[in-house]
Each structure stands twice: as structure tokens, then as C-alpha cells.
């Protein structure tokens, strides 16, 4: 692919594709399919907005988003508006991604919410780089997805055998009826899986600085992990690499 077409693709991805994918996550994150196959759209609860705010702070701290590069006086007003809308879409997509894996009501809603809040709060003080952050988020959402859409859904499904139904009844009894798990059609789990996959895919598209190639930050991160002698050796090798074309031109 030529440099011009790569630049055009990058521009399209940043300003059109990325916000649309994030908004799709925001649309599907609250979608539930009832047992009678009708739709229910759940707006993000307040707690998911708090989680999304914490996650945005984590993105900024972890270097996934360099805010001063996304919205700055050096860019045109249109570019700033476009980037601000993308960040807003990222915020709502994050809130709805949490909404997608959070039980809708009852004790488990608050147990999951506390688990998310505790993890996000702890992460605020941990050293992160963008790629570790995405990996960590995959694990966080994956765990919640398995617990909600596989474990709980199978325990409370109306079509399961007596063993699992008994287990569900025991859990309800042990929790004094506070679990109160909402029952949805299996399609809800598929929608949630697709939503989370789309969300992680969108995060992979996000560049720390919108006008910069993602590999630069990755290489910089790798460089920072090297020891002092390794850094010196790398700088020397890069110096030789830079001089080679000059030497080859002189000798020819």
C-alpha cells in the first residue's frame, strides 16, 4: 500500500470508522433479548458511568490516550470536534461495555459493580502501558462475561435440568432471595460477546496520539523496558543504520 493510501485509510479510520464502531458498542451494550424474543434497551446505570470515568482516567494514565494530543490548540477546530466526539463515544462505549456484563439488578449487580470499581481504582495506582492495559481489560471483561452470560445464565435458564435448577434455588435461598437474576434469551449472551469483541477491537484502533502511527509508541514502550547497556547498543545500531545509506552513496 502506498504512503498516500495508508494515510487516507488512517484518516478514515480515525475520524469515521472508530467513532462509529464505538457508538455501535454503545448501542448494543444495553441491548437485551427477552425470552419472547422482544428487545429491551437498558440505558447505562449511574454506576457504569462512574466506571467509564475511571476507565477514561486509566486510559489517560496508561498512555492509551494522550489527551493533549487529541484535543489541542495546534489542530483545526473541526479536528478537535471530531476527536472530542470520538472520546465521548469511547466514554459511552466503555459505560455500555460494563452495562453489558453487569447483572441488571439484585445483589449480584452490586457485587459485580464493586468488583469492577475496586479493580479500576487499584489500577489507577499501578504502572501501565497501553498494551498491558488492553490485555488487562480483556481479562476483566472476559471474567465478567463468563460469570454473567455463561454461569449465571445457565443456572437461571428456564430450560435447564433439575440439577442446575436446584443449584439456582439453593443460591437464592442462601442469599435470602437477594440475587434476583433477570432471565433473558440466549441471544443476549451472543450480543454481549459481539459487543465486547467490538469494544476490544475499537480499543486496538485507538492511537495514543491521533496523528501518530501506533508503532512509534509501542517501540518507545519497548525501548523504555531495556536496560541501560541494551539502550546504548540499540542507539549505536540505529546510528549505524542511519549512516549506511550515506556511506553507500559515497562509495558508489
Amino acid at each position: 500500500m502506498s504512503g498516500a493510501s495508508t494515510a487516507a485509510a488512517s484518516l478514515f479510520t480515525r475520524h469515521v470508522l472508530l467513532p462509529l464502531v464505538l457508538l455501535t458498542v454503545a448501542l448494543l451494550g444495553g441491548l437485551r433479548v427477552r425470552p419472547d424474543q422482544s428487545f429491551l434497551f437498558l440505558a447505562p446505570p449511574l454506576v457504569t458511568l462512574v466506571m467509564a470515568a475511571l476507565l477514561m482516567a486509566l486510559f489517560a494514565r496508561g498512555g492509551l490516550i494522550l489527551l493533549e494530543r487529541w484535543v489541542s490548540g495546534r489542530q483545526t477546530a473541526l479536528a478537535n470536534v471530531s476527536h472530542a466526539l470520538t472520546l465521548l463515544a469511547l466514554f459511552f462505549a466503555s459505560a455500555q461495555a460494563f452495562n453489558s456484563v453487569l447483572p441488571e439488578r439484585g445483589l449480584l449487580h452490586w457485587v459485580f459493580a464493586l468488583f469492577f470499581l475496586w479493580t479500576l481504582w487499584n489500577d489507577q495506582f499501578a504502572p501501565f502501558d497501553p498494551y498491558r492495559l488492553i490485555r488487562s481489560l480483556c481479562v476483566l471483561f472476559g471474567t465478567a462475561f463468563v460469570l454473567k452470560h455463561m454461569l449465571l445464565a445457565s443456572l437461571y435458564s428456564p430450560r435447564v435440568g433439575w440439577g442446575r435448577r436446584l443449584m439456582g434455588a439453593l443460591l437464592e435461598g442462601a442469599s435470602l432471595g437477594t440475587l434476583d437474576v433477570a432471565v433473558f434469551a440466549p441471544a443476549t449472551g451472543y450480543v454481549s460477546f459481539f459487543t465486547l469483541a467490538l469494544y476490544v477491537g475499537a480499543l486496538a484502533l485507538v492511537r495514543p496520539a491521533p496523528d501518530e502511527d501506533g508503532d512509534v509508541r509501542r517501540l518507545l514502550g519497548e525501548y523504555r523496558r531495556l536496560s541501560t547497556p541494551e539502550r546504548a547498543a540499540l542507539r549505536e545500531a540505529l546510528g549505524e543504520e542511519g549512516e549506511r545509506p550515506v556511506r553507500s552513496r559515497l562509495t558508489s
Binding site: H15, L20, L23, F39
Partner: protein, 166 residues
């Protein structure tokens, strides 16, 4: 120039799609069919299925009120046509009417339907041009339905059995 074009396209697409999502969450459609119907209403291109409406009217005149309402619910799925909602209310009235006793549940549903007809009519007063109906205004029908569910001493009047169904 091309950069500004892509940025402008992105802003426009994001705002449009964001508005659509907000609208979906506000209207809460239950099926894809409802999404399409609500979108037609919002765009101002919604139309009642005239053939189904006519079938409903024929059933209404043959006193098959439930079947008539069923047809009208398909003819006007968004409940957005004042004429259909007026007839739906009339069907509830006639089905609920009894010489000795009125069915309150049907009358209440009729009141809801006639309220929709009034709310949807431009001047807030709907009049139907149908010589076969004794009550041709939505206000008359609404008053009759409300009177039917009220508990008054006149309910005990034996002459009430002579009151005709309208």
C-alpha cells in the same frame, strides 16, 4: 482539503448515529418491525394500511369488535392515526356496552384509545364523517366512555335499561 472533508464526514456520521442511538433508547422499540414503524412516524412518512382498515370497518359493522380491533392494530401499528384510534375506541364502547351493566375494563381501554385520537388530531377535536355512527365526535365518545365507568346514584335508576346503545 480532503482531511477536512473526512473530518466533517466523521462529525456528521457520529452525530447522526449518536442521535439514532438516543432515539432508540428513548422510544424502546420491541422488534425490528417497531423500529421501522417508529422511524416512519419520526420521518413523517407513516401511513395506515387502508385495506386492513377497511376490513376492520366491515368487521365492526358486523359487530365483530375484537376481530375489528385486531385488524386495526395491524393497520395502525404505531397507534398514530386519529381515525383508526377513534374506531378502536368505538369498538371498545360497543363491546363493553350492556343494557344492565357496562364492562369497565373495556371502557377504560376505549378511553385510552379515544384520548390518543384527540391527542393526534390537529385541533385536538376529532370528527369522523360516518353517517352510520350516532356519535361522530371524539369528545362525545370520550364523555360516553367516562360516564360508563363512573359510579353514580343514577346507575340504580331502572329506566336506565331503556337507554339505547349509540
Amino acid at each position: 482539503m480532503r482531511t477536512a472533508l473526512v473530518q466533517g464526514l466523521g462529525v456528521l456520521a457520529t452525530l447522526t448515529y449518536g442521535g439514532f442511538i438516543g432515539w432508540i433508547y428513548a422510544t424502546q422499540p420491541r422488534t425490528l418491525q417497531e423500529v421501522a414503524t417508529t422511524a416512519q412516524v419520526a420521518a413523517g412518512v407513516y401511513e395506515v394500511d387502508a385495506a386492513r382498515f377497511q376490513q376492520g370497518l366491515e368487521l365492526f359493522r358486523r359487530e365483530q369488535f375484537r376481530a375489528a380491533r385486531d385488524e386495526w392494530s395491524r393497520a395502525d401499528p404505531a397507534q398514530h392515526d386519529p381515525r383508526t384510534q377513534f374506531y378502536v375506541a368505538y369498538a371498545y364502547y360497543r363491546e363493553g356496552w350492556g343494557r344492565l351493566h357496562h364492562d369497565d375494563a373495556l371502557y377504560r381501554q376505549g378511553t385510552l384509545a379515544v384520548s390518543r385520537a384527540i391527542a393526534l388530531s390537529p385541533q385536538g377535536a376529532y370528527v369522523v364523517d360516518d353517517p352510520t355512527l350516532p356519535m361522530r365526535t371524539a369528545a362525545e365518545l370520550e364523555a360516553e366512555l367516562e360516564k360508563g365507568v363512573e359510579r353514580t346514584w343514577s346507575d340504580l335508576n331502572p329506566m336506565r335499561v331503556l337507554e339505547p346503545r349509540k
